[in-house]
Subunit: 209 residues, 2 copies
């Protein structure tokens, strides 16, 4: 599959600030498109269909899986979550870099289907700071924080499966750095084939004149 745009997967520890980075990219630059997930969970008050999620029934979701209409999907508790393929493909072909904010397991599924996808992992500068951020939110019980830290310990073992690790210390710098990383990825040779092939062809012709 050759695309003009890059499929950018952003994962990271809960509390690492990946949502804020994604928001910063979408709002700060015009080359990005944000993938909208499909889910079977109930919309919360104020959530509109097609904004944060496409809300569908379990039957519809399972039908979409069977038809190969999802890039990745996962089940949490009793609900499905997944990334619809059509939207992503359409935006990539139009030259947009498409951002998926998904968990580690989904990221590895994406890698299989799109080997050229760019996988970014967002982390705070240290485990201490991660814990502090989760605690400072003040919305989570100690039990939930403990669960998240345990999950982070598991996820940390897989960090180096990602292409880049984004250390989120100061948020504005992290957004700019993430943008730089994605822009840099456009310049690797396998994404520059059109240019290199025409240069090779034209230079060869000129050298024969």
């Amino acid at each position: 599959m050759e695309h003009e745009g890059i499929l950018v997967v952003i994962s990271g520890f809960a509390g690492a600030g990946k949502g804020t980075i994604v928001k910063g990219l979408i709002e700060g630059y015009d080359n990005y498109a944000l993938s909208v997930s499909m889910t079977t969970r109930q919309p919360r008050p104020g959530e509109k269909n097609g904004e944060a999620y496409f809300f569908v029934s379990r039957e519809e979701f399972e039908k979409t899986i069977e038809e190969g209409g999802l890039i990745e999907h996962a089940r949490y508790v009793d609900n499905y979550y997944g990334t619809p393929k059509a939207y992503v493909e359409e935006k990539l072909k139009a030259g947009r870099d498409v951002i998926l904010e998904i968990e580690l397991q989904g990221a590895l599924q994406v890698r299989k289907l799109y080997p050229e996808a760019l996988l970014l992992f967002v982390t705070p500068p240290s485990a201490e700071i991660l814990k502090k951020r989760l605690t400072d939110r003040g919305t989570e019980t100690p039990e939930v924080i403990k669960k998240r830290m345990n999950r982070a310990a598991e996820e940390a073992e897989m960090m180096d499966k990602y292409d880049y690790i984004i250390v989120n210390d100061k948020i504005e710098e992290s957004i700019a750095h993430t943008h730089a990383v994605i822009q840099a990825a456009h310049s690797v040779p396998f994404r520059m084939k059109k240019l290199t092939e025409s240069l090779q062809k034209d230079l060869l012709e000129m050298s024969k004149q």
Copy 2:
């Protein structure tokens, strides 16, 4: 070999503007150090030893080769040119990104000795523009231009040996993009081992508490 800084090799077609990009990086940002080449050619009027080059005798140069004191070297016409290792190593250890502006053959030598080096290839947007830039200089004879275009045709076949291809269209944008590419390279997992290992260790300990 583990370094804090990145060894950045910048090559590209004659006339692609790599010298201007290197100058822009050195002058515009403070994390770079420019490697100074060693040569046996005579200094031109106004050239000071240790600025653009270290000027040495053929005996000294050959002794340096034998002692393994050069990262790469090449011979053009009757003169040697090479990159002294000591300066590069010292700056890398101090955390500076060290820039070498060298030709393709030297770049491939560097890759062998430093597999983690970052190899950048600078090109104009098209063969036509390359020819125009060489012609517009007004300093080269048609014969020299022809030679450079032929050499460019050869070099173009090797462009995809490089890690990144920098298209130099507008110089200010190219300098900023090259900087972004180098900054992005600091975030690949193999250059983040210190951080990932301490995160893994600390998170594991915390999850046992």
